[in-house]
């Protein structure tokens, strides 16, 4: 498969603040790529650069090998599904969807193509409706139909499901994936929701601080995270300091564990990742480590327990009930241990003593947090705060 879009050494800053630094990325034709990261990581800016709403400070954006830095948005074979849809309030559903074709295509063809789109997004018969009278999910479908009617080569989706409730979001994930497969259009999808990214993407691009942290398939980024940030952001992770004694032997928490990793220097400090679902809770005397249970939360399929192991808070998911304040043994299989090189993120994340704050940041798309975890702005989209236009959407 050929490279459809390529970003080469792209850097972008707003008011002296670097939002993207030296980004290199290519996207293949017909691929479903997700740009995943927390607020302010540069994912929306990347999307806007591809859409033609921003120009890079340096570096090039290529479309089928041709430089498109200076091609305006309206000439690109790329369409966008905007965050919160941006449907035209003065037009009904039909005219919103037909917008890209008006004055370019004969009326009968517009009619057939709009009807086709309405069928595809399961909104047959909604053509005459006022867009403001639609539910969030229906508006979402109109936005998708509007962006797809011109048969773009690439569809950009900026947190398209962010405003929908959980149930609807799951349905729409499924539908979007179906649409992508049926149309064969390349999807570039921006989200902060790791589960969404894992379940829909062919390729996930994990971003933080304006840099790509890892590119890989969903299983790659989950099972083989490159650094502490990726391990923490995708799924739940216990990340502990360790030292690689030799190949297949890692030392942490006062003892040596067998593992499946090799290729590190002798006695190289490393980050050790253990997923909460990979930890076995065993009787005290059978444990490789011992811990004190500080919190138990029932999650339906399993219990989520927070365990104090030598002052470091582990999260463990177990189907067996354990009581708060009990002491347990912990057993870790060699294949449950994943070793990562030390990175700029080492030591800053991975402990579950401040678990709840972290979840708030990840799960609320409208709240933006600074590096200290304080809310900076609400209801403003991460990368757009420097857009010069006036526009309070109230």
């Amino acid at each position: 498969m050929n490279k459809l879009i390529e970003l080469v050494g792209v850097t972008k800053s707003f008011d002296g603040e670097v939002v993207l630094s030296d980004m290199n990325l290519y996207i293949r034709d017909r691929e479903f790529v997700t740009l995943l990261g927390p607020s302010g990581c540069g994912k929306t800016t990347t999307l806007r650069l591809i859409g033609g709403f921003e120009t890079p400070d340096c570096g090039d954006i290529l479309f089928e090998g041709k430089r498109i830095n200076d091609v305006p948005a309206y000439k690109r074979q790329v369409n966008t599904v905007f965050q919160r849809y941006a449907l035209f309030p003065h037009l009904n559903v039909f005219d919103n969807i037909a917008f890209a074709l008006k004055h370019k295509v004969p009326k009968e063809e517009i009619k057939t193509r709009v009807d086709e789109m309405l069928n595809m997004v399961a909104l047959r018969g909604f053509g005459h409706r006022n867009v403001n009278s639609l539910s969030g999910g229906q508006q979402q479908r109109v936005a998708i139909a509007r962006a797809l009617i011109n048969r773009p080569r690439v569809l950009l989706l900026d947190e398209p499901l962010g405003a929908l409730d959980l149930k609807l979001r799951k349905d729409m994930q499924f539908e979007l994936k179906n649409i992508q497969q049926a149309t064969g259009i390349t999807f570039i999808y921006v989200t902060h929701d790791q589960e969404e990214a894992l379940s829909m993407s062919d390729t996930i691009v994990v971003m933080q601080n304006g840099k790509i942290q890892q590119i890989g398939t969903p299983t790659d980024v989950y099972n083989e995270p490159k650094n502490a940030f990726v391990a923490d952001f995708i799924g739940e992770s216990n990340i502990v300091d360790g030292v690689m004694r030799e190949d297949y032997k890692v030392f942490f928490d006062g003892r040596v564990f067998d593992c499946l990793d090799r290729g590190f220097d002798k006695n190289e400090p490393v980050d050790v990742v253990i997923r909460p679902e990979d930890v076995d809770v065993v009787p005290l005397e059978k444990g490789m480590l011992r811990g004190h249970v500080t919190k138990v939360t029932f999650k339906g399929v399993h219990y989520e327990i927070i365990v104090d192991v030598n002052g470091f808070m582990w999260m463990i998911q177990t189907t067996d009930y354990v009581g708060v304040d009990s002491d347990i043994g912990i057993y870790i299989e060699p294949d449950a241990i994943h070793i990562m090189k030390k990175s700029e993120f080492s030591g800053t994340i991975g402990d579950y003593s401040s678990f709840s704050d972290e979840m708030d940041e990840i799960s609320n798309p409208d709240v933006e947090l600074d590096e200290h975890g304080n809310v900076i702005e609400t209801l403003v989209d991460e990368d757009d705060k420097e857009t010069p236009e006036v526009g309070n959407d109230d």
């Binding site: 309206y74 905007f82 941006a86 035209f88 003065h90 890209a100 008006k102 509007r146 006036v390 526009g391």
Partner: protein
């Protein structure tokens, strides 16, 4: 529970006694009665009565005679022309201002508002001075060898006066509506193949209809009823309906009141009709912002 208290109606949120409400509303009601309803009643009364107080259509008939009709026609025409010119000037200006950086936007709006801090009379007199045959404008044109032009005493001067005085009333409502349009909608239009001009025509223009309607109303109504601008810029030679009304009423006799009232009555009808028309357009877009 059989306890009676359980069945008792819950305490309603305490309402103000009727007397308190009446007292608080009274000043406003009195104001409306004295300064809005009573004058209107007088206008209608004088329009349809003769000096003896008997019902008559003679006043309206006289107003529809050729002399008054000509003035009426001229008033409507000049008001329409100046409203149209205001709109043509204000729309691109409002668009341009909305594109500035936020800080510069408030500065630009302040500049447009600045003349309004000066009394209408003084502004109009200043304009008159500028336009005099031996005034600054003609002196300036003289530098290029252009003979002095008699700008004053012309419909052009009156339209200029109206546009100059009422332009801010057109710019402000249009600007405030354009500035509130979600920038994402413009991006969506570009995304779907519109260049800058097409985006303005297909998205910004339809979404700013309510501002245009407000602007038209706020310029047309004072333009059609003005008397001072026409009087001072034409030395009373070109009369508008407002001038005639003013002249009639200031004669202080009942017969003149009747003609003045009849003219006011016609003017009122004209304004109501024009507002009904504009509101019909405005309704589609969630009403008029005034």
């Amino acid at each position: 529970m059989t306890d009676g208290t359980a069945l008792a109606p819950k305490a309603r949120p305490s309402r103000r006694p009727a007397i308190v409400r009446a007292v608080t509303v009274a000043p406003h009601g009195l104001w409306c009665l004295l300064f809005i309803l009573a004058p209107l009643a007088f206008v209608v009364y004088y329009t349809f009565t003769d000096p003896s107080g008997a019902f008559t259509m003679a006043n309206l008939k006289e107003v529809f005679s050729s002399a008054y009709l000509k003035i009426l026609k001229r008033s409507v025409l000049l008001a329409l022309e100046s409203t149209a010119i205001c709109l043509l000037l204000a729309y691109p200006l409002a668009l341009a201002v909305a594109r500035l950086k936020p800080r510069n936007q408030s500065l630009a709006i302040l500049l447009f508002m600045l003349p309004m801090w000066i009394n209408l009379l003084i502004r109009t007199y200043s304009l008159k001075l500028l336009l005099e045959t031996n005034g600054p404008l003609n002196s300036f044109l003289g530098l290029f060898g252009i003979e002095p032009i008699g700008f004053l005493n012309s419909e052009f001067a009156i339209i200029l006066g109206m546009v100059y005085n009422y332009l801010p009333y057109m710019i402000l409502p249009i600007y405030s509506v354009i500035a509130k349009i979600d920038p994402r909608l413009k991006e969506a239009a570009q995304d779907l193949g519109c260049n800058g001009f097409q985006t303005t025509v297909r998205v910004v223009l339809p979404l700013s209809v309510s501002g245009i309607i407000s602007g038209i109303t706020m310029v047309f109504v004072p333009s059609i009823s003005t008397f001072f601008i026409s009087k001072s810029l034409s030395d009373g030679r070109i009369k508008l309906i407002g001038d005639v009304i003013e002249q009639r009423i200031s004669l202080h006799n009942v017969a003149a009141y009747e003609i003045g009232s009849a003219l006011s009555f016609i003017l009122m009808i004209l304004i109501i009709v024009s507002m009904l028309i504009t509101n019909r357009f405005g309704d589609k877009d969630r009403g008029v912002v005034v």
